[in-house]
Homo-oligomer: 297 residues x 6
């Protein structure tokens, strides 16, 4: 194959790749000036949230007692600015509209308002996360201090992302919440859908392989081990065979439930308060309060 | 221990570490001017592929309709250049040869040719990936649009890397394909060996912990859940106890098979068309078409 | 909501976030000049160790035969410098002390000494790691050469981090060892506590989801597959309900044990020499030497 | 001074610094979403222009014959995007206006139009710059080839920036043109005001210390040496003592004029066609065509 | 020359270079834990000062009215921290002392105190700089607004660095002040020694090539043009031929003096109030108040 | 202008820009695999040279006595590698040749040899530079120590680059030497052509605006002040009007000459040993040994 033939070959490939009719849905066309969801900026947003929620542990490590409020002020201002842009990007994602239209401007205003509203939830978010950290510390004999839990427990990273994403999910912001939980999924192997509802004092030990589905409802003081799936058994489809969105299809776990490693719990079933599910087990029926299920030997 | 004693101690350690006779196989000696496989460049290659296959979703987000072909041209040129270097690095990896030898120059020419050939497969690769994306979208009630699947589903990232690596694997390029699938493994927890053969409309839900072995053969419309292993039960060794390479030892899955989370399927067995394997189960025998296996209770 | 109202709302949130009384344990207050454990620096330390242990494979790829000792000298010097700082940070972590106190200065001297001591262990560490690499190569028919195992097997990355962290753990350095194994956990999905004791020729295939607890004792020539848990069944608490630290609570595995994917082995039980544990099984009792356990069908 | 006293001292300084009444003009207050002139982005704009005007010499060095148009397309698109933002920033600079006002939106539209218009001038700009390069090459026995002149002659860098800035200056864009020539000033020591009018085949040898004022008019084939000043002698002020803007106050140089190093030419005088001004001389009166002025000995 | 001969040749060069006896003064030997003056950190210090003195123009451009004090607080804290380290590095520079000695610890305390003291001068420094900016604006018909002067006039950059360095020089901190003015010298071509004393409303037009010597004394409302030298004619040496340090040897300029481009004024002479020095002139004698000197024609 | 019209306008500009016939000499066409001179890599080469010549002052600041040779070994190896590539790029610059031709391969071998040869000159280069540093220190009452001269005197930076470039110039390597001196020109305002021959104990005070032409010959113990030009008065052209290359056309300065600021010395004249040239003077005739020239008053 001569160089000329090679060039022809490459050119042909480029022409095929540029034929937009062959892949309409795989191309995200850009409209001038519309922000675009950005994994990099969302990561900075998460880093800012972590630095605001756990100062000194994340972000600038040299925060003094007496300058904390300066740091919080600067971080929250930047957070607002970045989050406004990403929320707007989420609202516009996949939509087509005339440039300069009133609808676009309303998205911009709404994004700003939602970002402000999110910042307002941070103190309560921190209060709840403190319960999760407490639960992780008390549930692990290997934990030597609270600082160790905050600094290096992957479950805490995943739960922080989830709780942030869940707030944004409740505001009906598309896409952004999911990207945030997937970032934690990649970092920790823990996959919590932002739509799940999870109570206080929640903890996951080790965590790799945990999956928590979109319509799960989880009580307080629940503990999961690595590899646990809270999934859907099956789901109804519409006439054209597409799955119907939004139907409750994942388990409900009562307060104080413990699920051991690699257990799979599927469908809209209820695991009663205080129940214990052993490892490597496949559960598709309700479990009574304080019940116990283990793999048959 | 005085500072002088400390220095002596450190020096002694450095001398031991520098004694090449004690670790001949752990040292990759450099020959001048030979390229070396580079994780960083391979990541850039994958990023370029993603930006070429899904413009706007990956790479430069501000691609317009009317400038798409410019972007593709620049990206493909860069891809060719980098890939040529990495393929050459793969061909030379672990080989010893005289500098300036004819064999080395032939590797360089072959690398260029293979890179050109790879670019030629990109349009077909995109067509097949579109079927995978379609399958993921239709198989997940939580997916709100195709864009969400492309942007943030880890399975798509893993399958893109696998399909790229598989093309390079079929060209008998050493090492490079494996590094590419391991990059996705680290990012997503999904470990697909580049040697596996996988049909269209393939999807993996959540995905962390999935393992697909080197000699697997997977049909169309197959769906795996997180934690599924398609592995080898055991493998024959030669007289000196080394495993014999290349023997088929992983499962064959027919069209339309579904495997639920954490199931382990081992050995050169066949899971027949349309079969369903429940979660947390250990399967080492054939399953008949449309069969169903679940964990015993 | 007017801009003024929004600003007030944000200000109120910042004030609440700055109220230190509400989150005393979530704030890592900085003392001037004390080093702070840094994930970024610890990553550089690991990268330096990898480049010293496997020259050419990690770090500068263009290391020649005849300049190896220069590179080792520079890398070990930098390693000493960074490690001294991080060990000191670990010793001070969570402690309060007068600035300029004698205790602080003694920590500084001790950190230097421990870093020197760590460097002294590197040659032996490399010898042991070579056995792990050998085991991985011989245990995987898909491995084409030793270089492939070193370059891209996630288990090797995880075991390198573990063996480094274990040395630091034995020196009673707080926090740092755990951060190092969590870095590998995030990169590979393999979670080995730095306190575990693991023999030579240790290998993990694929690896995602593996958990090895703090008090595990593992013999030589042990092989684990992905998703295997070596965990604790339960643990005693003190009168105030806190878990008692340091009690042996994880399994003991004899020489030559093999555990297949997703098996869960819990509690201070003993898996006898040469035993084989099948996949997806839940084991809470001792297994006799050369015993075999598989999931019941 | 105790630590507490130090903190008080610092706090007092911060409070004084934050008192905006004391420095109203030194604080550039930000309005949400308005772009701000950015030296970093303007540098990227200049780099893009250089790569478009002299492909291969600047920007991506690996541009082939057959892929040039792809590169130009991508670079021009990015140039348009960045320049639009910076022109808008220039138009808004120092202005106050209601957010969301019609005037702001008109600035945005005008910025886009001007950026498009600027791109339209690039081919002519390149034609003129080619004459400058030719003149530099023919005027310097030390120049070994055209490529050397383009690659490393500071005068070419300064003239490129000037000719770009002059186009933007003619469009009445505030601030941006000046920042662009100051960037070249810092890089080369050559300070050309964007308002000056300069003919073709213009060249500056060495160049450090050259100053060319705002209202200069320079013919074709003019050559300046390092340290030459074309400045203003004095300027009228209005009643309040402020200098009156825009009055012609710098020299006019005819075609073919040569000015040797460190000569200072001041005021609205005319240096006639073909005149030669010797070095280190102070000229404040007209010089006749083909005249010669040297320092008196 | 064979590869082996080449290696020998290189090795020989390295051995010669490593022979410390041949270049004792050209090697800055490192003492553990002592900070070292760092151009990179000093640049960050200057950037912080600029952002504190002219918020919005330098540093983060998106500073709002209502968050200014947060930004100042964070910037000043960081400034203190970095400056303390660099002052300490200056105090230790070129000194030899026992590690851990009382003298070293006193340097550390003194550095902190001096850094605090420097921060205390910032408000006054800003007041004086505002007069310089005012003078530049009123002295240049080409200046369209104050913002343009602050943003892009090189003289302002040079004077800011000088005024900062002069404060540190008055505290007898070695080396650091000089590095700071040399940074501006490189950026602007304006070389002001930190020891010079310069009054308010000082301005330099264009500026490249200006030199202001260590013992210059300059009044208020002085204006210099590019290329002006205020230098020493000669200086006495001691018996061993070394120049005697600290003797006044540079000019004194009264209030309201103007010096045109490329004039050279040498020696401890006095240029009287209101005098005007023409360009390209060599002045080595006193000039009377309101006198005028121009080049002889 | 509608968006469509704008696009058409931009497209037209791109088409004109892509018409290679209109700018053949302004386009550096890339041949596969040929290295290209790179400002960024040449800067790294200079930084490596500085760190090898003045360890601790440049490059890694934490070099200890006892690890110096490790650092030198690593730096020299990297220097060799980078310099080989850049010398080869210089040899190929502007040449056209068949890929894979014998001539190209000979360039590659020659580049390696020349790079080795350059490394061999480093010890002597350091010896000469030490004399320049000595001269700068003894000639400046403001210099407080040798370390200050090495760290922050721009003249030393310029002379280092010149002496490096001069060695490469003597090897007949095209382009690369000039880029190296232009880098120093931009950094310091001092423009020394790499072809000039300069003796030991050479010093330049302040330096901005100094120009030293290609065929200058300068003795030992020469001192120049800022703004001094050693240039060409005129130069002969060939029949087609191009300047004839390589004719001696710049001044010869004897030992011990001093030239004050802004003096301009032009043409192949001789300034005799020990002569002193005053500032702001224009000299085009020989000056006798120990002569003195000052501006006429």
């Amino acid at each position: 194959m001569t160089t000329i033939e090679q060039l022809g070959f490459v050119k042909e490939a480029v022409d095929k790749l540029a034929d937009q009719s062959t892949f309409p849905e795989l191309f995200s066309k850009y409209d001038d000036d519309d922000p675009i969801p950005s994994g990099k900026i969302l990561q900075e947003i998460i880093d800012l949230c972590r630095s605001v929620l756990f100062p000194g542990y994340f972000g600038n490590p040299t925060v003094h007692n007496h300058t904390l409020s300066f740091h919080l002020g600067v971080s929250v201002e930047r957070l607002l600015q970045l989050l406004t842009g990403q929320i707007q990007a989420g609202l516009l994602f996949g939509k087509e509209a005339d440039a300069d239209s009133e609808w676009k401007r309303s998205c911009s205003r709404r994004a700003k308002l939602l970002a402000v509203q999110f910042v307002g939830t941070l103190p309560e978010l921190r209060r709840v996360l403190a319960t999760d950290i407490q639960a992780a510390f008390e549930g692990d004999p290997a934990a030597s201090c609270i600082g160790e839990v905050i600094s290096c427990y992957p479950a805490i990273r995943a739960i922080v992302n989830y709780r942030i994403a869940h707030e944004l999910y409740k505001m009906n912001i598309p896409l952004i919440p999911r990207i945030i939980t997937e970032m934690a999924h990649s970092e920790t192997g823990i996959d919590i859908h932002p739509g799940a509802e999870i109570g206080e004092y929640f903890t996951i030990d080790h965590g790799t392989g945990v999956v928590i589905g979109q319509t799960c409802i989880i009580g307080h003081h629940v503990k999961l081990y690595q590899g646990v799936t809270l999934g859907a058994k099956s789901f109804p489809t519409d006439e054209s065979g597409h799955p119907i969105k939004g139907i409750p299809r994942h388990p409900i776990l009562g307060n104080g439930v413990t699920v051991y490693s690699n257990a799979t719990i599927l469908g809209r079933i209820t695991i009663g308060e205080g129940a214990v599910i052993g490892g490597n087990i496949w559960v598709t029926d309700d479990v009574e309060p304080y019940g116990r299920r283990v793999q048959r030997k």
